[in-house]
């Protein structure tokens, strides 16, 4: 069996890609894509730990299940927000939205 560490490092890589995306994307939808990567990174962790520790009640998997649900909810809300602001401003670029500053 491959060591657990490899899973964790993989998850960390995905997590960092997500963080990188969050920090550098100006398109709100791509931002959301990056967020999904972060959530999936966490899920990889959870499932891997669950597997390696052999948790009796499957906590890791259940948590991952909940995270998927939350990701769905968050994406819905996020996308609706994007669409709502797109209707008003005709833009989905984050750095266009700086009416509120200073």
């Amino acid at each position: 069996m491959i060591p657990l560490g490899h899973f964790v490092i993989l998850s960390m890589f995905i997590f960092c890609i997500g963080v990188f995306g969050v920090l550098t994307q100006r398109n709100a939808i791509r931002f959301l894509i990056s967020v999904e990567l972060i959530l999936n990174a966490a899920n990889i962790n959870l499932v891997a730990f669950n597997k390696y520790y052999g948790s009796p009640d499957g906590l890791g998997q259940i948590f991952a299940l909940f995270v998927i649900a939350i990701a769905a909810a968050a994406s819905v809300v996020g996308l609706v927000l994007v669409i709502a602001i797109y209707r008003l401003r005709k833009s989905v670029f984050i750095d266009d939205f700086n009416l509120l500053k200073w």
Binding site: V19, L23, R26, N98, K101, W102
Partner: protein, 612 residues
Amino acid sequence: MVKIAHWIPVFPFLAFWLNMMVGRRLGKGAGYIAVAASALSAVVSFLVFQGLFAGGTSYSLGTWITINGNPITVGIIVDSLTVMMLLVVSVVGTLIQIYSIGYMAEDPRFSRFFAYISLFMACMLGVVLADNLLLLFIFWEGVGLCSCLLVAFWYEKPAAAAAGLKAFITTRVGDTGFLIGILILLASGHSLRFADLGGLPGHDFLMTVAALLIFMGAVGKSAQFPLHVWLPDAMEGPTAVSALIHAATMVAAGVYLVARSYVLFLDHPLALQTVAVIGAISAVMAASIACKMNDIKRVLAYSTMSQLGLMMLGLGVGGYTAGTFHLMTHAFFKALLFLGAGSVIHAVHTQDIREMGGLLNKMKVTGITFIVGSLALAGIMPFAGFWSKDEIFLAISHQGNPVFFFAAALTSFLTAFYMARLIFMTFFGAYRGKHHAHESPAVMTSPLVVLAVFAAGLGFIGSPLCNGVFQHFIEKGDEVVALNYSMVIFSTVLSFSGIALAYAITIRGFALPPAVLSNISWLTRLVENKYYFDELYDFLFVQPFLRLCGAFKRFDALRVDGFVNGVAAFVGALAQVIRKAQTGLVENYLLMQAGGMLLILLTIMGKICRLF
């Protein structure tokens, strides 16, 4: 009987408040109130004088304040010196106030004038009666204030206002020394009572310093070198004020102070020596300046300074009696001279003697009394000044310092010269003025007459002819003063030669050869410019002070306040930076968040191991 002495200053003080509050409604009554008050003081003074023969005393009215457990009493001292001064002040004061009723009759602030005069009388009598230095200091400042207010009485004139300021501040410099002197005594745990000043234990040098500092107060008040600059300017005040304050009483208070704390000076010869030196310098210097003055009042002012110097010299060489005697006689004849000058000014509306002349015919009473006063001042036998000056000469010769003797002799000669010059230019020769001159009213001339009588006759009480009544009274000594004929002849010759020189120059038009004149022109310039003291002080003190004030003001606004505002501005600028960090762009926020978190992570980890 003497325990009524403390009432003496009360009358003028009440008169002050009365005149201050309702004076304007009283009209001439203001003057009468003031005169009545000081007359009452004079009467009580006489009663005290009578009571004194039963023995002098000092008594306390209660504790004024307790300083570090050292009670300062409101103490009254009644001894011969006090009584002498009381009489001089109250009598001369009363006469001058009578004169003032006439002299100030036209003034719109008539009542205010008498209010100030009354306050002055109260304070001056307080100075005389005080039995300790602090109490004396309090009244001392009071007379200084009145002097200032009265000098600046015609405050519309810029010169008068400036003179008032100058008088107060200059004397205040001396008083600061006085105050520090008192502080030294207090801090050394000594009593401030005059009676306890003799044989003070403690550090000899410190006590000498204390004595010198107290003398500094006297120097300021008595317009002695180097704090004399205010006195000539003080002549901007009404002439009656000059007579009362700047001739007879207040300026003499300095001499009185030295006499009063004489034991302290006797214990510390260096201090006494300083008194003599300062006195000698003042006497000669002032007399020399007086020779070149053309303002009648300024001549008299310098003369006053010179005579006060002579008194100081007398005290300084150990002539306690001589000094006080001259103080008394001088008060009368100098008051007379000032009042006479006032009468003349009243008549010719100028103070410049070059615009006078031949006034003797037009103003008989004034002229004669003025001449009497002048003779007394010049020290002509048998007028009062002669006897008292003679005493000083004797004291100096007794002490034996030839420099002092020379100074006194020179002063005497110059005194005779400038007084004669004044007389000749004012009362003899042809009238050079434009204004029609006339004799002053009786209310002004009668005090002149009374004073002239004193000026002529008062000397006898201290002369060997009367067995030295005065000396016995003051010193309680048995020493019989014999008439020293050589001294009499010497001083008379000195005086007459001065008069003769004045006669030659003013009447006969005698002049030194131009070559000689040009050789001594620096001297005349020096004397004419009063030895450049005003300029010197302006350069040394006034201008630096003003510059310092300006510098402080700028420093305050630019540096101190600038620092404060700078701090505020710095916070403001910092706030602006922090505010601008809030760019409104979420990506910046996110970077900050992620980066910040990373930093926190690294910081905490850095505590355990070094990652990089």
